[in-house]
Structure formats: structure tokens, C-alpha cells
């Protein structure tokens, strides 16, 4: 994770987690690293990790039972929402960038489809 020093670090951690969940690196019910492990692996302040975990708990992304390591939530709805959120956020950025070019929607979708499949193919070939 590359840290942006102008944005609260805990929010960056939360987003990092969401990305991992969306990608499937974290699956429902999976144990996640302790705050200290997380801090060490991401090279951040344990307090920030703590704050990020707290935020994620509030959002229902993870849950912690006493004396057990935190786990990714098993609530599929929340996981879906996370995925949706990520997709929506990416699409938002994309839309914001492409809007000024004034491309017709059909053409845009066709180009996106071609590019996207090509990238997947290339990735698979590797």
C-alpha cells in the first residue's frame, strides 16, 4: 500500500481492505492480521491501524469477538456493498475523466469492453 500523506491514513487502510475484499484476497470469515501485524506490514502507526479497524467495525466490514482475532464479516450483503462501492467509485472517477470528451455511450461501452477483455486476456497469458 502506498500511503498518501494528504489523506487520513486510516481511511487509506480501510480502502486497502475493501480492495482486498473486492478482489477476493480476503474472503468472508477470514481472520485478518492483528493491529500490530498490520502496522508492521503496512509500515504504519499501530494507532492508525487501530483506528482503521474501528472504522471497519463500524462499517460492519469486520467483527471482533472478545479474545479472538478480528475476522472479515460473513455478512454477504455488506461484502456485496463493498464490491459495489468500489466499482461505483472507480466508475465515478472514470466517468468524471471521460465526460469532457463527449463520447457517445454506445461507442464508449464498446471501447471499454474491448480494452477490458484485452487486459484480462493479457493477464491470463502471463
Amino acid at each position: 500500500m502506498n500511503v498518501n500523506t494528504r489523506e487520513p491514513v486510516y481511511l487509506q487502510v480501510v480502502r486497502h481492505f475493501k480492495e482486498q475484499i473486492a478482489i477476493g484476497n480476503f474472503v468472508a470469515g477470514q481472520e485478518i492480521p492483528s493491529r500490530r501485524e498490520l502496522a508492521a506490514s503496512l509500515n504504519i502507526n499501530p494507532n492508525t491501524a487501530q483506528k482503521a479497524y474501528k472504522e471497519m467495525e463500524e462499517q460492519g466490514l469486520i467483527h471482533t469477538e472478545r479474545n479472538f482475532p478480528s475476522q472479515i464479516t460473513t455478512n454477504e450483503t455488506i461484502l456485496q456493498v463493498v464490491r459495489q462501492e468500489l466499482i461505483l467509485a472507480a466508475v465515478d472517477t472514470f466517468v468524471d475523466a471521460i465526460r469532457p470528451i463527449n463520447v457517445p455511450v454506445d461507442e464508449l461501452l464498446r471501447v471499454v469492453k474491448e480494452k477490458y477483455s484485452e487486459e484480462i486476456r493479457e493477464e491470463e497469458e502471463k
Binding site: R6, P8, L11, R35, A40, N43, N47
Partner: protein
């Protein structure tokens, strides 16, 4: 909690510290930032009782006593052991005098830093000296760690290593005060910034709050403050 209350310090007519007040909490990394010669090191020395000052400093609501040194440790940027000692002897010295010495952590850090017990302190490079200091300081089970310029004059790889250890071994219930004039390496690691200039506190803020509320990095704030 370390409370620094209105401390002042002069060297002759020169004011080094002028009514400096701040607090550093347990479980937080507090960073004293400022360009060189603004009294950062003097503040740490004052807290450690290594220099006289006017004002009051309390550690967990108490004045410094000899037993406080089991609770608070200082990692200066110069070797604190005799040059003729080997690292092994330095470790024996520490375990001899501190009941808070944690040999397991020391061994762990030795391994991580790739330091060798038989090396003589006088033969260590600048980077390894800093690592040794860190190893000795962090292997004490203390509540507060004071670090003076842990990154100054050290190569990039050593810096990364140190920052790594910094993150992994500064357990959340310790309080850390660190001084630096190069914030870059650790900006994302610190909780609280005390901006010092000419011996007084210019600005004190929480880094995450600053990012959240104003979208500014510590460097941004520094630039603003020092260039105005």
C-alpha cells in the same frame, strides 16, 4: 502521559526554549519537528533530566526520579556505550543495570538488524550505530521512548529497516517522542506533531485530523508555517 509545562532554558543569553508546553500520550507517537537548532534535542534532554530547565515536567503525574529511568528511555543519535565495548558487552551492561531489559526482544532486533554480538562499537557504521541505539533502547520494557533524530545521516536501506522496526516494535501502549527535521520517512507513522521554532511551540496538531479536516500533509503544514 508526559506533560511538559512551560519549560524554558537559556544558554548564556541565548534562549533555547521559551515557555514550551505540550503533552505526549502513551500509545501515541509525538513528533517534535523544526529546522535544526530550535531546541528539539534540548527538550528531550530536559525530559530525561540531562539538562537543567525552568518549568515542570511530569511523567505519569510524577516528577522524574531514578526509578523513572526504568519507565522511560532515551535513544540519542550518538553511541551511548564505550567504544571499546562489543555489542555483547553493551547488552550485558544493559541487562546488568535495567530490570526492564528484555533479552528476547534484544535478540530479535539483533537478528532483524543483522548486528553481530562480537562487533566493537567503535567499528560500527553510522547506520549500524543508529540500529544499535535503537536495539538497546527498544529492548527495554519501558512506557516511553524518546528518540533523537533516528534517521539523520543514515543510508536509505537502513532508514527503511529502522522505520520498519519502529512500526512493529512501538507497541500501542508505549508513548514515543521523536525529533526529526526530515519528516518524510515517518510522516504516516506519527500521531501528533509539535512544530517548534526559535524555542517555542508554533503549532501543535494531530496528523490524521489535519488530513481529515484540511487535507494537508505534515510537510504542507510545515511549509505554510515556516514560509509565512
Amino acid at each position: 502521559m508526559i506533560e511538559v509545562k512551560k519549560i524554558s532554558k537559556n544558554y548564556g543569553r541565548k534562549k533555547i526554549l521559551d515557555d514550551v508546553s505540550f503533552t505526549a500520550n502513551k500509545g501515541e507517537v509525538t513528533c517534535l519537528i523544526g529546522i535544526n537548532g530550535v531546541g528539539k534535542t534540548t527538550t528531550l534532554k530536559a525530559i530525561m533530566g540531562l539538562t537543567p530547565y525552568k518549568g515542570e515536567i511530569l511523567i505519569d503525574d510524577q516528577k522524574m526520579t531514578k526509578d523513572s529511568y526504568e519507565k522511560i528511555t532515551f535513544i540519542p543519535d550518538a553511541p551511548t556505550m564505550l567504544p571499546q565495548m562489543t555489542i555483547k558487552q553493551a547488552m550485558v551492561f544493559m541487562s546488568d543495570f535495567y530490570t526492564s531489559w528484555n533479552p528476547e526482544r534484544a535478540n530479535q532486533l539483533m537478528g532483524f538488524f543483522k548486528l553481530k554480538e562480537e562487533n566493537r562499537i567503535s567499528e560500527l557504521s553510522k547506520g549500524n550505530t543508529a540500529k544499535l541505539n535503537l536495539m538497546l533502547g527498544l529492548s527495554l520494557d519501558v512506557d516511553y521512548v524518546l528518540m533523537d533524530e533516528p534517521f539523520s545521516g543514515i543510508d536509505m536501506f537502513s532508514r527503511e529497516q529502522i522505520a520498519d522496526v519502529f512500526a512493529s516494535h512501538l507497541i500501542e501502549d508505549r508513548g514515543v517522542i521523536i525529533t526529526t527535521h526530515e519528516i518524510g520517512d515517518i510522516e504516516h507513522l506519527i500521531d501528533k506533531v509539535i512544530l517548534l521554532d526559535n524555542g517555542s511551540v508554533l503549532k501543535e496538531f494531530n496528523t490524521e485530523e489535519m488530513r481529515e479536516e484540511e487535507g494537508k500533509s505534515v510537510v504542507d503544514v510545515m511549509r505554510e508555517v515556516y514560509q509565512s
